[in-house]
Amino acid sequence: MIELKGLVKKFDDFAALDGIDLDVPDGTAFGLLGSNGAGKSSLLRILSGVYKQDGGSAKIDGEDIFDNVAVKERVFFINDETIQYSRFTLEELKDFYKGFYPKFSEEIFTRLCDTVKLPLKKRIDTFSKGMKRQAVVIIGISCQTDYLLLDEAFDGLDPTMRIIVKRMLVDAMLDRNLTVIISSHNLKEINELCDTAALLHRGKVVFCRDLDSIKGNIHKIQAAFATNYDREDFSDMEVLHFERSASITYLIAKGGEDELKEKLKEKRPLVLDIIPLTLEEIFIYEMEGLGYDCQGIDK
């Protein structure tokens, strides 16, 4: 289990992570959401032992991660680049990682390579972007670590390959209780693969819940009222977004469907439609609530 308590990471005076508290249980598919510069990559680098935290603690099964070989052997980190593997062939890359990760499975490696038909003897810099990604994910899965950290790992994959890679990950999760932490701007991927997600913003955790509870706790409301209500009139609700067009009022509000219906009933809506949001919409409206939106561009 990954336990982060009051985690702080600073780059000069800038706090990339500012008191992060997170628990990731084993076997979880954990999504990391956040705007650019929110601290997602820094968090993954601390979890993989690349960075040392400046404050708080980062532990896996009660052990510190940084400079701890025993813990690092259980974690594999795939970052958002593949240039570092350019000079290797896939076979060389396998040999390289096999030496470091004692549980490395030749069988899994061969099976996955056969599945996606990657050449073993060609240098990786001759691969397409998607092939490079596949190669690294195959290596990551073959290392059979307990934790797989993926930073924008689906970039450059075509839809078919996305499905294949996702299936590889899901199989690994099912087979050996693999914990996957995915940082991605592609919320669809997180929506499909993760059961839990955390939203980071300016180095802090905005929320961390299982996806169902996230989705069930925020709704889009389309309603028509006899009176033209303003945003202030909905102060009993946590409204993230308010918009009125002619007689229709659009609201994005936090809360369960029944709870919201109950609160709106007092205002006697002529028409009321409550729709659950997609993860992408939740992300956008949550970020808007935090003052991170595109209104400035519209103006």
Partner: protein, 679 residues
């Protein structure tokens, strides 16, 4: 996690790094084989051919190839360090490298050792090949030499010193790379640091401190240069060439060199452990390193620029250092960001350099220039003083520990410093001009507290008279003997002649060659005579000059006081050439007589009492008279003394432009000859 797993990851990393550099290692091996092994092979071929026919020659092209390939292979240490520690300046490699299951310490040591292995293994293999070829050569040929160089001893010297020089170059490169975070800085500063260490020490020792009157740090600076950097060590190794090519491994060099390599290694390790993964892509992870380099550059330029005159070169100094400094700042800061800070830093640096220079100048190196030890604090003094007449001038240092001798040297030293202080206050340049045309005397004080310091001065007669008592000490006899031997040996190496001890008459018009087999016996006899001659006869001989003994570059005026030497000549039937003065010499005006002057000494025909240069002195021509071939003139020539010390004014005789003293007791004859000649 077991210890086995820890070592396994360590070796996995090591193996990977070595394996990925196999091709590079092969190239290095080829380069190393082109050096010593190829040349040893060449010597074997040459010696085999020369046994068959005498016209065989060395193919010197192999030597050129060897030098070039060695330079490339040794310089590869920098490239290997850059390659092995590439993740310290390539951001794309950070995640891959730092996330591997290795501790920071493991990663450092496995990478460091892998680099060292890649770098040194080909060298060591080539050394083994060289030793095998050397063994074959030694077994096959009785005279196993390259020209006159002994191959075996030089090869062993080169193998050992080469190993440590390469190791330091690699360690120093790792240290520099650890301080940098981007490729440009890593490459340029890893190279720059190799050059700047010896340069800065040399500039400090030879130029900065050399500007201080009398202070000569060269004996101390060269060992420091040799011990602190690979380039310095190579210079040291080559500068030990004696006559032909000989490499000398000084164990006193090796110890500090290895210790310093260890210091650089520890520094690299500590800095590596402290640096963070996220610091990659910063130009400098440790800015102090950058400022040390930049200050060294400013210091070197500043010191070289102000070598001639500080005041007149101050403006160009500021302009040039500002350009260099700010250029470095713009490159490091990737633009003109906070340029005012760069300007402030430059002002502080140049201010410090100029300030320290002025401070050193105005305080005479914090009193070092005027420092004179008390006689009680000195255990012994070493000096190359070659006698009051300068006959035994050479670099041989002689140690004197008699308190009276120490006191005499301190008095002479005080006399120099008093004059320096007096002249410095009137006009700074006089202090130096006053000693022109005179050679230097080195003095090294060994103090009772275990420390030592050296000074080098050009003494004038006044100062030197304090030293004349040294000539009568037993240590001076030893100095004479050693000087004769070392001059003779040095001359033997560079001269094509077979014999080079000559006995000349007083006009050098006729000479006898002395067989070199008598050399040792002759040197002993001369030294014995120097020690035995009574004091009055040594400084003001009453016996006429009978000839000169020329040994290498030393010319000893002989008279009957040299009893042991003359006995030796008799024993081996060596004849002193006859003085043959013909009329032509007088017609050519080769003899001239000058009026008595208020001088005290004449030293072998030289203007000043002490000089190794052939400086001929001519007094005012109107006061000189050319001698005619008269009995009185002939008598004066016979009594003329090249080395004579007196307080009385006396005539001096010029023979071929060289000055001889007419001892005061012959002044009446000299006066007559002079007056007759003037009429």
């Amino acid at each position: 996690m077991t210890a086995k797993a820890l070592t396994s990851n360590f070796f996995t990393n090591f193996k990977y790094k070595v394996k990925s550099s196999i091709r590079f290692m092969i190239v290095l091996l080829v380069l190393h084989i082109c050096a010593a092994p190829l040349n040893l092979f060449n010597v074997i071929i040459f010696l085999s051919k020369s046994q068959k026919h005498s016209g065989a020659n060395y193919n010197e092209l192999y030597l050129v190839i060897g030098v070039i390939s060695t330079a490339i292979a040794v310089g590869a240490g920098l490239v290997i360090a850059l390659n092995v520690f590439n993740y310290l300046y390539k951001k794309s490699l950070v995640d891959m490298t730092f996330s591997l299951p290795l501790t920071t310490r493991q990663r450092f040591f496995s990478d460091f050792l892998a680099g060292a292995f890649i770098y040194l293994a080909p060298y060591l293999i080539s050394c083994v090949i060289s030793l095998i070829l050397n063994a074959i050569g030694s077994a096959l040929f009785a005279k196993w030499q390259y020209y006159s160089m002994d191959i075996t001893s030089n090869l062993l010297t080169l193998i050992v010193s080469g190993f440590f020089i390469m190791l330091m170059l690699y360690v120093l490169s790792v240290l520099a790379i650890t301080c940098c975070g981007s490729i440009f800085e890593a490459v340029s500063y890893a190279g720059l640091v190799q050059i700047l260490i010896p340069s800065t020490i040399a500039v400090f020792g030879y130029i900065f401190m050399g500007n201080l009157y009398g202070i000569d740090l060269s004996p101390k600076i060269m060992p420091v240069i040799k011990a602190t950097s690979p380039i310095g060590a190579v210079i040291g190794l080559i500068s030990n060439v004696n006559g032909t090519i000989n490499f000398y491994l000084d164990p006193y060099w090796l110890v500090p060199f290895v210790i310093l390599t260890l210091v650089y290694f520890v520094a690299a390790y500590v800095l590596y452990m402290k640096r963070k993964a996220e610091q990659v892509s910063k130009p400098f992870v440790y800015k102090l390193f950058y400022y040390i380099i930049l200050t060294s550059i400013t210091f070197c330029i500043g010191t070289i620029f102000t070598l001639e005159s500080f005041e007149s070169n101050l403006v160009p100094l500021i302009i040039i250092t500002a350009i260099v400094y700010l250029l470095f700042e713009v490159i490091t800061n990737r633009g003109f960001k906070k340029f005012y800070m760069s300007a402030i830093r430059y002002a502080a640096t140049i201010g410090a350099v100029v300030g320290i220079t002025l401070l050193f100048k105005n305080t005479d190196g914090f009193g070092a220039v005027t420092k004179i030890p008390s006689a009680q604090s000195v255990a012994s003094v070493e000096t190359d003083y070659g006698g009051i007449f300068g006959i035994f001038d050479n670099d041989t240092m002689q140690t004197y520990s008699d308190p009276k001798t120490i006191e005499a040297i301190i008095k002479a030293h005080s006399s120099v410093i008093q004059r320096y202080e007096k002249e410095k206050n009137t006009d700074g340049s006089i202090a130096y001009d006053a000693y022109s045309n005179l050679s230097n005397i080195k003095i090294k004080y060994n103090l009772k507290n275990g420390s030592s310091f050296s000074r080098t001065y050009t003494f004038n007669l006044e100062d030197a008279l304090f030293l004349k008592s040294i000539d009568r000490t037993p240590e001076f006899k030893e100095k004479c003997l050693q000087t004769l031997k070392s001059s003779y040996e040095a001359y033997k190496k560079i001269s094509d002649e077979k014999e080079f001890i000559y006995l000349n008459n007083i006009l050098n018009t006729n000479s006898t060659q002395i067989n070199s087999k008598y050399a040792d016996e002759l040197f002993e006899a001369i030294a014995e005579d120097i020690a035995q001659i009574p004091e009055s006869e040594y400084f003001a001989p009453s016996k006429d000059l009978i000839g000169y003994l020329n040994i290498a570059s030393i010319r000893i005026p002989l008279n009957e006081n040299f009893s042991n030497t003359l006995l030796l000549f008799k024993k081996y039937n060596i004849k002193i050439p006859v003085l043959d003065i013909n009329v032509d010499l007088f017609e050519n005006k080769d003899f001239s007589l000058a009026l008595p002057e208020d001088f005290k000494i004449s030293a072998d025909g030289k203007n000043y009492w002490y000089s190794t240069t052939n400086y001929y002195f001519y007094p005012d021509g109107t006061l000189m008279a050319y001698l005619s071939n008269t009995p009185e003139a002939m008598e004066l020539i016979r009594h003329a003394q090249p080395s004579f010390l007196t307080d009385e004014p006396c005539y001096s005789l010029y023979i071929y432009g060289e000055r001889y003293i007419i001892p005061p007791k012959y002044s009446s004859i000299a006066e007559k000859v002079y007056n007759d000649a003037k009429q």
